[in-house]
Symmetry: C2
Subunit: 133 residues, 2 copies
């Protein structure tokens, strides 16, 4: 159970930079394409490995899309929170959910479950997309 030490490489720096510059959720492949567009020739597998490492370290947030693709995003807040994502343009708002946290705990207690965790994502259409659509 020993996490290897992460070394600083130009590839990881480039990946990190792209993730930070992209405000919303993006797939590993998106990030790889963006990297290429900017002139970095980083291998796709390196992108996958770097993102997995960053996610493990809590540096980025992940979201599993309905079709099974994993999306990554730099999170402003390291604490537990949820997302309100625009289905159309991908705009994301980080939302805090004390209500949900409490509800989750209560439901678990009622059914005699412990060691509780949960996943919650909210999808919708943002004001801007509604105006355009």
């Amino acid at each position: 159970m020993n996490t290897p030490i992460r070394r600083n490489t130009k590839q990881r720096a480039a990946i990190s930079e792209v993730v930070q510059s992209l405000s919303n959720f993006h797939s590993a492949q998106d990030i790889h394409a963006e990297l290429a567009k900017r002139g970095s020739t980083v291998g796709l597998s390196t992108v996958y490995r770097a993102l997995a490492a960053m996610a493990a370290d809590g540096d980025v947030d992940t979201l599993l899309r309905d079709d099974g693709e994993t999306l990554y995003r730099q999170c402003a807040d390291a604490a537990h929170h949820h997302h309100l994502v625009c289905r159309q343009c991908g705009a994301t708002v980080e939302v805090d959910g004390p209500t949900v946290e409490t509800w989750t705990q209560r439901i678990a207690a009622e059914h005699d479950f412990d060691d509780v965790s949960h996943t919650l994502e909210v999808f919708g259409r943002c004001a801007q997309c509604r105006a355009q659509g």
Copy 2:
């Protein structure tokens, strides 16, 4: 937008029977294996197609696992609800979440999103597994 009429075939009957006999969430491959174990030689693609049709008709509930596999389960209640799933044994409790529904609506309204939907799953360890562990 015309949903084709579903025909009753022995394959679908067998699949339906297996899904009903398995109480928790199972993957299409699990179901296919169980079918084989019971002597039905149903093709894997047929299992996928049948489960997709059942899910579209609201006859079964689906759950996307972290690794991207889709799990299916016969649901007692056709209405919108969530699940409390035991991480260890897979035991599932269907829970109703008016609190969450309300919270979701409120959050969306606050950020000017409409056409809202959400996904929520709660994971934990059930009393029985705690006793054994």
